[in-house]
Amino acid sequence: METSYLITLLKEISDIMAENKEKLIAMDGIVGDGDLGLTMTDGFKAAYDAVADGAVTDAGKLLFAAGKAMANKVPSTMGSLMATGLKQAGKDLKGKETLEDADIAQIFASYEAGVAKLGGAKVGDKTFIDGIHPAVESLKASLDAGDSLVDMAAKAAAAAEEGFKATTTMLAVHGRAATRGEASRSLEDPGAKVASLIMQAFEKSVQ
């Protein structure tokens, strides 16, 4: 696959964040400061805009440039975390001019690793990681099973959505939600929702 696919992927992510802007604002308004919908919409749009012209063909440099644009546009905690995921994917894919299915899976594994490294969250902490991690695991399983890219993406999106829904059983330990203690448990985590949206965008991008 050409690396221009990554531009399609970023476009789908940017679009899905814009479509869900109000939903994210409402969710974040319950557990955080309510700006998540704006941060994600503005941030992923900046990421897409930075590389949309197709001038950069190195997959790593493209993803890194997208992450950098996002980091500069939305320097909040969640903005920085999402940008760092793109940048980590960029570091790990540096030098690639074409993409295999394994590289696509790597993007999301790197994304998770980058976010976890910067934010320090683990699986079960009720964060973005709880949405992305099941998707990354699903992608690995699909690679081993030899699934088509379309099937890989569909399964990963379903896994992320399940992961997101499971956050209603978790206690928040990071950010403002953590100050609510036990009362945080039944709430949906907006970060995990963002992960689910990213994987939905991935599913659309390969159709």
């Binding site: 790593g60 890194f64 950098k68 980091a71 320097p75 905690t77 920085s80 940008a83 760092t84 940048k87 980590q88 960029g90 570091k91 540096k94 980058g114 490294k117 910067l118 320090g120």
Partner: protein
Amino acid sequence: MKKIINSPDNYIKEMLEGIYIAHEDDLTCVDGDLQVLVTKHKKEGKVGIVTGGGSGHLPLFLGYVGKGMIDGCAVGDVFQSPSVDQAIALTREADSGAGVLYIYGNYNGDIFTFRPAADEVEMEDDIETAEVLGADDVASAGPSAPGEKSTRRGVAGIFFVYKCAGAAADKMLSLDEVKRVAEKANNNVRTMGVALTPCTVPRVGKPSFEIEDDEMEIGMGIHGEPGIRRGKLEPADQIVDEMLEKIVADLPYENGDEVAVLVNGLGATPLDEQYIVTRRINQVLEEKGIKVYKYYVGEYATAIEMAGFSISLLKLDDELKECIDHPVDTPFFKQV
């Protein structure tokens, strides 16, 4: 607010201008940005050590930029992190081909500054980087499980991490080795502080918290973060005993151990009182059979004009002793 300033908005800028005037032979700024300082005595081929964090803690952080210690520093506004771009510019300047080690305190704002900067220089400049996060404040959280990220704050004990890593780098060790020494120092240092009065961030204009005239707070952080016990002010010996009990038990420091001790004034506690504290520390450690290899007493990491002090212990082995003995020449700290 009673401060010798011209205006709160110019506090950092004018402070830094004074620093460059007084230390013009030793310090310079990067790309005209006063908040990004590097040594004028860059040693080619040496691992670069850089740090940073909020202003308001002098001599921390910028005061340790110099020979035998660290190579550069990015400072933000009072108690605010520097920007990612400042950390990037700093790293590029501090690298001379052997890579760069970041040593900074375990605060989210600083993590969100230095990790993205590391990503950037690794991707775009192929500079190898590593990091060690100071997390020595035993009052700030419980110990972390092995392999887990510490949730403790970094406070004055980072001085020892700079000292040991700086010596290792000055001996031209590799990035991996300098990082190993820094981690060893970091893993063997513990600190606790006590505050008697709050501090006032100039642009805020009022004290960061309230405390009665006859009260103290044991375990308070260097930005006024809550401690572990607030109570009536006690005699110096009793305060020292309580702090040392927590520090010694934490590592733990044991009979037969050798340590370096840092008695650190938080900004408004006179040296007289710091030496009264030092006297008691020596009594207690002697009773416990812990031998003091070297004392450092004075202001090393302050919280603007907070009154109070902290005690840091660093457990030493032969390698760390050599690092402690290594000569240093920086604007705020010299050791021959």
